[in-house]
Amino acid sequence: MIKRLLIIVALATIALGLFPLVWGMQEARTLSGVARYYVVNGAEDYGAANLVTAVVVSYRGLDTLGEVAVLFVATAGIVLLLGSAKEPVLLDRKSHAEGESEPEPDMGTERREGSPLLKTGAALLFPIILLFGVYIFVNGHLTPGGGFQGGVVIASAVVLLLMANSEMHMKHGLLNMIEALSGATYVAIGLLGMWLAAGFLDPRFLPSGEFGALFSAGAIPLIYSLIGMKVGSELTGVMESLRRKA
């Protein structure tokens, strides 16, 4: 009870303490600081129409590399947690001498087979969603969207498929390969930027092309594509791991 009271007091304090900060913050009338620079010079610097993309992939490219790494770390962590660690012995279960490969009908809830509607719909939609995902990351430097968004869309396609076919499994080897190679290539592109252009992750070692075209803005589309593939494969892997154990 005291604890509950303490929580209320704490949250009230936070609310009261931060509210003036929130409420008193004047809405910006115009851009200032680095943002102004980005907006003014973004197109010129990298030739990317989507300034957010320019910021994400190039100006603050290191953040994005880190972000990819975070996702990668989380994937690795999930695999470590759910995949490789020793199987705990569950109540009222025979010991799992058979090993890891068998999918467990776990948690007392049987995994149901997808309905015919879901199955058909999934089969129909899967390539379209996949294509949509690719579209999103390839055009990341021009329109809203980018590697992460595209990757997530791709992963959602896979989720759909997995929901439809409970017995289906992704090929881990292939996923790993895509993940590893796209990640490594990303780093390599970053290094190329350093060696061939002005700095690490500088996309301008490729020609910037015509402003607004698909193949423009240096290596940005390339990077976004790699990110898209990596994110897609990673999220797929995550889904697969979670599903297999849960």
Partner: protein
């Protein structure tokens, strides 16, 4: 120079590719990881090398322009910048080295080796930390923070244990809240300044709250007390290899980020950081005292160390740059803490080493794996901040920075916490260094259970029937018990000596230890060189050489000979350059030490550590004689303390006593530390001084002397140490404190002593001395254990020296040194003779001996001379001391002190007679009928000491005149010489004449008796006495020895209550209760921890408001 970008790009790329390498072969992946970590270590080292080569001096090195790299092709505020300055390079090198060793450790151990994803996560963890260190962008910091955190979250679960899952989940909850706070802080900061680059943030007032949010989040990531319950579970539950990485590597990055933020922060922020660190430091130490799981204890210690570093970051500018201080502390912490975690991993067949409980102790470890134990000792010493390890120097400079600013609370926190830390760390150490029969706690003296304690005759005689029966029963059972113990002991030992297996290779731990050692030596050279005091490192060199000899298992005799040779040469070179008081004490320390070493020659075979420690101790005592700088002195003093601790801990049942010794020594050393810092211009003669410096220094020295109230370490340490070592401690080492009192008084306290508060101090000191003399004598009277008797006797004698010193008159000081010299001689005789007796009889309990005069006449003679010299009976040296003492006291007008001293000296008769009687006179025991005289190596130093005593007795001016010269000029002359008569203002004393008269009056009756009675004399057998109307046939029933002064005990009643011991026990229990009740806040509930995190943040924000 290689760009810092590779430090991120390469490991990250490798991490991405690692799954593919894994397919190519497990070893390929492992090799790749190790190679990358090696490269990461080499990278910052290469920068450092270039900088060092290119800059002429240290100051320039600290101002070297950092190696900056912008990403994305644009300069900093627009893009993210990485920069590596000297600090970054230093921390990176340390982090990567530790990580390299840590992963190597996990790969070469025999338990679960990291493969696949674990390896990937370890690599990303290191990458994240490198990123944290290098990046100059606030949001980028967040990204790397998350890489580090998420790697950690996942790694915790790597051993797949239930507890690890629990710990990990709690960690995530708390960590996520901290991240959210950080994000809010970053976005506000961006909104207010329009920039995220650390180098381009304007310092404007409006950002204080945003900065505080950042600071709070970073602090929370650093696990501050009390918002850190979740982190401690991690240390306990996770794989020790992972714990080491989390503790050593993970935290360093965040810590460095906080350091990077400091230029932006206001003094209020910094105060909050320092305060947070201080609170964390002290409470973590207090709670750590109560831990039973070593890993959790190490976890608390980690938290505490981080707190200390926060304190350093927050407390601002010091005498040396903060980054150097931080580097010292961080490097020390990382390597030692990781090393200790690895150790628990290495010897953890049944988790025994990771337990603080008695059942979990490993008594056999020290014997089976001496090198391993030595390694653990080094790691612990480094962690506890003992010289010469880096944190020792950091501690000195930290306190030097805090004291002048008057931040007393922080000083108290730092030193108090360090003391507690040393306490629990070394308590763990004793768990596996002690012998199996060692109870491990501190005990007054051990009377075996076969003595009927309940029927202790209270009125002092055994004439009552029950008393006699009890005595008879006791005798019978004693005999039985002795037999029984001799039979059972081997069994006990065998049972306890389970084989201790090292699982896996200790090489990485050894490398970490060596890096620490060499880092410490390098630091020592670096800090001592500016004062031209590199010679102070001689003891360290001796220690290293000795350790080498020990590793080669060179017999102790040879080692001792080498040591004696070394000390001889050292004395030859050093002593002629000294004069006055240092010369007197130089002779005392070095020549006295040589005398002690002779007795040690008795040891056969290889005695690990014995010779090297003794030699090192003497060399570090030698340091005290000529050291000039404050730091140099403190270094030597602490070195002396730790070496003597190690010497004591070698005793069979000494672990508890040694720990107590260490605690008091360190407490004293910390008091001295503050006192030294308070001295305005250092450790050199000058005319001004402060009262507090005097008091603090004095307290430190008084602890070493064993002044009453601060003495409770003394009896155990002297008694439980090995027998010859006791002699060394009592006769030589105990004078170190006295010497420093003389030195400080002579150099800079003297002006103070002329002032009014100084006079009061000296007066107090005098009373302390008198009380010490009295308490020592009284305590000695009632001991059954011979070594405790001698130990308390030493304490009493030191009391006289202190009293004489406090007089601050010519005669007083002469007497103090006269006592010091003669005490060296007669205590050597007594302790070494007793060592011989104990060696032969196998017991230390006096009532188990008796009648040994017939078996060990030389030892008896030595003890006889010793007790006469000690008691002050003319004509031997003791009387000179008494005469000078009382004369000086009465001259000074200290009448009551004189009365007390006289009473103490009368009490001394009691224990002295008891000592000689119960051992050498009375009835010889059956089991001692065949024993022989003490070994020759014991007799030699005794004879030398006897010769010394006799010489000084015959010709007191041989000693007194040089002493008079040594202190010439300090005080007005109050004594005069008329021939060989020493004349004071009150009386006179002619040592020669007394000697002749005594010899005359002794010889006359002797000749008479010989002439008249010789042919009538009839020697009878042992039992030819009539006692209670029968002839006794058992020595045990007839030897009056147990509870010898029972009437005195009953007469004194509650006067004998051990107040000091009680007081210190109370102090300890208060600390423990605080620890126990404080740790209740760690309820184990993840949500409660989250609430703490939140409340902590709120409190910090409120404090910021209040501070502005």
């Amino acid at each position: 120079m290689v760009s810092p970008i590779y430090a991120i790009a390469i490991p990250l790329g490798a991490a991405f590719l690692l799954p593919l390498f894994e397919k190519a072969g497990k070893n390929a992946a492992k090799a790749l990881v190790l190679a990358i970590l090696a490269a990461l270590t080499a990278l910052p080292v290469s920068w450092l090398v270039v900088w060092i080569v290119n800059t002429p001096n240290l100051a320039g090195l600290l101002r070297v322009s950092p190696l900056a790299v912008d990403t994305g092709g644009f300069p900093a505020p627009i893009s993210i910048r990485l920069a590596a300055g000297i600090g970054e390079a230093l921390v990176m090198a340390l982090v990567n080295l530790t990580a390299f060793l840590g992963i190597t450790h996990m790969l070469v151990r025999s338990q679960a080796k990291p493969t696949g994803k674990t390896l990937v996560l370890l690599l990303t963890l290191v990458t994240g930390v490198n990123g944290l260190i290098l990046t100059r962008d606030l949001f980028n910091i967040f990204v790397f923070l998350e890489i580090t955190s998420i790697s950690t979250y996942a790694l915790i679960a790597s051993n797949g244990s239930k507890r690890a899952y629990e710990a990990g989940f709690k960690y995530i909850i708390a960590g996520s809240i901290a991240s959210s706070i950080y994000l809010v802080g970053v976005i506000y900061l961006y909104r207010l300044t329009g920039s995220l680059s650390l180098d381009h943030l304007p310092r404007s007032g409006g950002t204080a709250i945003a900065l505080m949010l950042l600071t709070t989040a970073l602090l929370l990531e650093l696990k501050p007390f009390p918002a850190n319950g979740w982190s401690l579970d991690v240390y306990q539950a996770a794989d020790p290899g992972i714990s080491a990485m989390v503790s050593a590597v993970g935290a360093s990055g965040v810590l460095f980020v906080l350091y990077k933020l400091t230029p932006l922060l206001s003094p209020t922020h910094l105060r909050l950081i320092a305060g947070s660190g201080a609170v964390t430091f002290v409470f973590s130490q207090v709670i750590a005292l109560r831990q039973t799981d070593v890993r959790r204890m190490l976890g608390y210690s980690s938290t505490a160390q981080i707190g200390l570093m926060l304190l350093v970051i927050g407390s601002g500018r010091g005498t040396i740059p903060t980054i150097v201080l931080l580097g010292l502390l961080l490097g020390n912490h990382m390597l030692s803490k990781a090393g200790l975690f690895w150790v628990t991993d290495l010897i953890d067949g049944n988790r025994t080493i990771a337990s603080m409980s008695d059942s979990g102790s490993l008594p056999a470890l020290a014997r089976n794996k001496p090198l391993l134990v030595a390694m653990i000792g080094i790691l612990l010493a480094a962690l506890a901040g003992l010289p010469p390890f880096p944190s020792f120097w950091a501690k000195w400079h930290l306190v030097s920075a805090l004291v002048p600013n008057g931040r007393w609370l922080l000083v108290a926190v730092v030193l108090g916490g360090s003391l507690m830390e040393a306490g629990y760390l070394f308590r763990w150490f004793t768990r596996f260094t002690k012998a199996s029969e060692d109870p491990g706690d501190v005990h007054q003296e051990r009377i075996p259970a076969d003595v009927p304690v309940t029927t202790r005759p209270q009125t002092g005689t055994v004439s009552s029937r029950s008393g006699k029966e009890a005595l008879a029963r006791q005798a019978a059972s004693t005999a039985a018990a002795t037999q029984a113990t001799t039979q059972t002991i081997p069994q006990v030992v065998r049972q306890a000596e389970q084989p201790v297996e090292i699982s896996g290779s200790p090489v990485p731990t050894i490398i970490a230890t060596l890096v620490l050692v060499f880092g410490g030596i390098a630091a020592a050279v670096g800090f001592l060189a500016p004062n031209q005091e590199l010679i102070l490192l001689v003891p360290l060199a001796v220690l290293l050489i000795g350790a080498l000899l020990d590793t080669l298992r060179i017999p102790s005799k040879i080692q001792l000979l080498l040591g004696m040779l070394g000390i001889g040469v050292y004395s030859w070179l050093l002593l002629p350059s000294l004069g006055g008081i240092p010369l007197v004490f130089g002779l005392l320390f070095l020549v006295g030490g040589l005398l002690q070493m002779i007795a040690l020659m008795q040891r056969k075979g290889h005695q690990p550590g014995l010779a090297v420690l003794v030699s090192t101790l003497l060399f570090s005592l030698g340091n005290l004689l000529f050291v000039q700088s404050r730091l140099g002195f403190f270094f030597s003093w602490e070195l002396m303390s730790i070496v003597s601790y190690l010497l004591i801990v070698r005793g069979r049942a000494a672990s508890g006593a040694a720990l107590r010794y260490l605690m008091f020594s360190l407490g004293g050393a910390y008091s001295i530390l503050v006192g030294l810092v308070l001295l305005p211009t250092g450790f050199a003669p000058h005319a001004t001084s402060s009262l507090w410096a005097g008091i603090l220094l004095g307290t430190g020295f008084l602890i070493k002397i064993g002044t009453v109230g601060l003495h409770i370490w003394l009896p155990g340490a002297y008694a439980e140490a090995e027998d010859e070592v006791s002699s060394l401690l009592s006769s030589v080492l105990s004078k170190a404190g006295l010497f420093m009192l003389f030195t400080t008084a002579g150099l800079f306290i003297q002006p103070l002593l002329r002032s009014v508060p100084g006079v009061t101090l000296a007066y107090l000191l005098g009373w302390l001395g008198a009380l010490t003399a009295l308490a020592g004598a009284f305590l000695a009277v009632f001991q059954e254990d011979i070594k405790y008797t001698l130990a308390y006797s030493s304490m009493g004698q030191m009391g006289y020296m202190l009293l004489s010193f406090a007089l601050m008159t010519q005669l007083g000081w002469i007497n103090s040194m006269y006592l010091a010299v003669t005490h060296l001689l007669f205590k050597t005789m007594l302790f070494v003779a007793i060592a011989g007796v104990v060696h032969r009889t196998g017991t230390r309990l006096m009532y188990r001996m008796g009648g040994l005069i017939s078996r060990m006449p030389v030892s008896f003679f030595s003890v006889l001379i010793g007790i006469i010299a000690l008691s002050g009976v003319p004509p031997l040296t003791g009387f000179g001391a008494k005469w000078m003492l009382y004369t000086a006291l009465i001259e000074k007008g200290w009448y009551l002190q004189a009365g007390m001293a006289f009473f103490a000296s009368a009490i001394a008769f009691l224990y002295l007679f008891r000592l000689i009687h119960t051992i050498f006179l009375g009835q010889l025991k059956d089991e001692h009928r065949e024993i022989r005289e003490a070994p020759l190596w014991y007799l030699v130093p005794q004879l030398i000491a006897i010769i010394g005593i006799m010489l000084v007795s015959m010709f007191p001016n041989l000693l007194i005149k040089p002493l008079e010269m040594a202190i010439a000029g300090y005080f007005p002359q109050t004594i005069a010489w008329q021939g060989s008569t020493l004349v004071s203002t009150l009386g006179y004393w002619n040592g020669n004449a007394v000697m002749y008269v005594t010899m005359g009056v002794f010889l006359v009756p002797l000749v008479w008796l010989l002439a008249t009675r010789r042919k009538h004399n009839q020697k009878v057998r042992q039992f030819n006495i009539v006692y209670s109307a029968e002839r006794p046939d058992r020595p045990q029933t007839t030897h009056y020895a147990y509870n010898f002064y029972a009437p005195y005990r009953s007469a004194l009643g509650s006067f004998l209550t051990p107040w000091a011991t009680r007081f210190w026990k109370r102090v300890l229990s208060v600390v423990r209760v605080v620890g126990s009740s404080t740790r209740r806040i760690y309820s184990g509930d993840g949500q409660t921890y989250a609430l703490y995190v939140l409340l902590y943040a709120i409190v910090l924000m409120l404090l910021l408001r209040g501070g502005n």
